[in-house]
């Protein structure tokens, strides 16, 4: 017969309070504390210096990136190779010229022109060195016209996907490589 009022004192079977304690702070609180500190430090390093969490604001990257959607910017994406055409990148603005600073606000744009290439818009079509670029990510009518521009060395021509908005409301052009914070992950 088991006395319900008596705590379970059999060895190897912790009480309910014991289980809760183990679930919350582990068998060895010092080890748990060290693990928690390592976890917090890892999160700070990862989410501040490697994968920046971002929230998309606005419609300039529709339809691929919707307003208020969440994403990450991989700051290490271009350590081993140069940015490529089609990459969606985060671009820093003036308040964070210092490279070590993490920008609070970034432009999110797609790289369409590489250094040395000529970029133009003709009746809404993006021309690279005079040839129309196939852009499956662009959806919607576009009537932009823009004279050919030769992309400077160490710069990239960036533009948003939503070309159905008026050209004057859309920020696009050449960005220095130092302005690129990283590649948008998804």
């Amino acid at each position: 017969m088991i006395d319900q009022d008596q705590p379970n004192t059999r060895p190897g079977r912790p009480r309910l309070g014991g289980w809760l304690r183990i679930a919350l702070i582990g068998r060895n609180p010092n080890v748990t504390l060290a693990r928690a500190a390592i976890l917090v430090a890892t999160c700070v390093v990862v989410f501040k210096f490697v994968l920046l969490p971002i929230r998309v604001e606005g419609v300039s990257m529709l339809p691929a990136y919707k307003d208020k959607s969440l994403n990450f910017v991989n700051r290490l994406a271009y350590l081993r190779h140069e940015p490529r055409r089609g990459d969606v990148v985060g671009l820093r603005l003036g308040g964070t010229n210092a490279l070590y600073r993490t920008p609070s606000v970034m432009y999110m744009k797609r790289i369409v022109g590489l250094p040395g290439e000529t970029v133009a818009f003709a009746d809404g079509h993006l021309l690279i060195n005079g040839t129309a670029l196939d852009e499956p990510y662009v959806n919607g009518p576009c009537d932009w016209n823009c004279a050919p521009v030769t992309v400077n060395p160490n710069q990239y021509f960036v533009v948003g996907d939503n070309r159905s908005m008026p050209r004057d409301y859309h920020v696009f052009g050449q960005a220095k490589k130092e302005q690129i914070v990283g590649k948008v992950l998804f």
């Binding site: 671009l91 603005l93 003036g94 308040g95 210092a98 920008p103 606000v105 960036v158 052009g173 050449q174």
Partner: protein, 161 residues
């Protein structure tokens, strides 16, 4: 060990107190820009008097003559404005629906003479109900006049060339 930790804590407290009591010019200027953003923000449906008070507060951050260089698509302005002109311009702006201004990224560089400074700032303006917010990179030049950092020059910066 305990003494060492205690000494470290006291030293950290001392440094923190020193930084609070004697902030660097960069910190003073950044704090001023935060106040400017608050003053430039307008609550939806705010009456004339609160807007006037806000506009006058905004004017207080500028010197008596301010050089304005705005180069935006569809708007170019190169002028020298007085403080009153700035107050009037802020009042004239259509902000009846409300306006939230923020400076999320502020980078201040104080000159070697410690009397002038330059601030590279990301300006974020949001009108309630509108999907797109306005983001603009700007450069402010400041001068220390009568012990106060005042804006003497405002210019827009094209993020992409």
């Amino acid at each position: 060990m305990v003494r060492f930790v205690l000494a470290l804590a006291v030293a950290a407290l001392g440094v923190w107190l020193w930084l609070v009591l004697f902030p660097s010019p960069e910190k003073v200027i950044a704090g001023q820009f935060e106040k400017l953003a608050r003053a430039a923000s307008v609550q939806a449906g705010a009456g004339y008097l609160p807007r006037l008070a806000g506009a006058q507060k905004v004017g207080g951050f500028f010197s008596t003559n301010v050089e304005i260089n705005i180069d935006l698509p569809g708007r170019q302005q190169h002028a020298t404005m007085s403080r009153d002109d700035i107050v009037q311009a802020v009042l004239a702006a259509d902000s009846s629906g409300g306006l939230t201004v923020k400076f999320p990224d502020i980078n201040v560089m104080v000159g070697a003479d410690k009397e002038t400074a330059q601030a590279d700032i990301t300006v974020e303006a949001r009108v309630p109900g509108e999907q797109d917010m306005m983001v603009q990179e700007m450069k402010f030049t400041l001068r220390k006049i009568d012990g106060k950092w005042l804006i003497t020059r405002v210019q827009t910066v094209r993020t992409l060339s």
